[in-house]
Amino acid sequence: MDVLVLVVIITALVFDFTNGFHDTANAMATSIATGALKPRVAVAISGVLNLVGAFLSVAVAKTISSGLVDDTKISPVVIFAGLIGAILWNLLTWLVGLPSSSSYALVGGLIGATWVAAGGDAVHFASVVSKVLIPMVLAPVVAGVVALVGTYLAYRITARADRDAVGRGFKAGQVISASMVSLAHGTNDAQKTMGVITLTLITAGSLPSGSGPPFWVILTAGLAIALGTYLGGWRIIRTLGKRVTEIETPQGFAAETASTGVILVSAQLGFPLSTTMVVSGAIFGVGTGRRLASVRWGLAGQMLLGWLLTLPSAGIVGALAAQVAQTGTTGTVVVGVVGAAIAGGIYALSRRDPVGPNNVNDVPARRLQPAGAEV
């Protein structure tokens, strides 16, 4: 295996890591917001279950590695460029606390890079639309409707029962439902990286076209996403858990159950579905389903804008990276160094206003409290 392939595999694992901490919010934001789980316990459970989930199914990995782009026309350099685009977009959206889709970023980066390197006809646009774009657009709507109906029913059924006991019951239920989301996330998202690594090995000639991921790929991808998840994307957890709507335990339970259902069912059918969009849709759904709950729809507009920008933005970065990286070894090194420098810069910016397990539940308006006053 040559050095370039190794570099691409490491870059793919870095992407997987950003995917993990970007998406911790999906599984755990509502549990952390309602207090069903302590922040650190939540991310630990989520990390372990992401690792377990990575071993359970490979249907999505095969969609990525064998359908979106023509694997006979691209090289590991192109995949490298696409990953750089995806990683940078993930970091930027994390900095601003936007729950954007890591899947969109990955697909966008790969399409941009492939387009520049091999021309528009190397991208299977029909496959992109039918297997990726449409399910991604429908997923939040479906999850939102399920969560809305579920929330309405949960409140309706328990309306006359003892309020405190009901709250405690749903809190316990949330531990299980949040764990299920993490597991579902693992069966879905770790596979995207497995798909990319497998695609790299195919383009490098180490595996025949149409192969599934080898065991070591499954293991390393699972570990990378689990580690990222454990470190936690606290900025995004705060957005989803506290800024969309004030979430009570029955709503948290309904949102997580709805998300699990949609993610698991779609994973079984081989769609690389956006966990982020499913969960975001579900959280808006549960906000709408409870009477008197106020939902910040303005935030929905911002998220939607972010989602729409994800594919083209990651695509443009991927395309630029491919343009430079294609020129040879020097070009590839330049892309790697510049990418690492931008990533470092974003991290440095994030330290100005750090968000961690101690202040994740403080909404910005209450940020004047001393740090750590509330857990």
Binding site: I134, I176, L183, V262, Q268, F271
Partner: protein
Amino acid sequence: MNIDWGALGEVFVVSFGAAITVIVLFSFGIRALAGPAADPTSAPRQTGAEVPPRPALAVLCLLGCALVVGYGLYLIIAK
């Protein structure tokens, strides 16, 4: 272009059915465990409207939830 609407419809129907089943069963289970509201003004005092604790029903409901969740897990692992 070939959009697999059938599969998308299946995602909606199956996930709706499974998630709503779990939520409804769990809610009934919680209600059966919790008993009536402590504040009498919020619970109407007609017969049939009160919600006495019924542990057996609660166990049944929660068992139902566990079955659905277990079946979901089985589907993931068996494939």
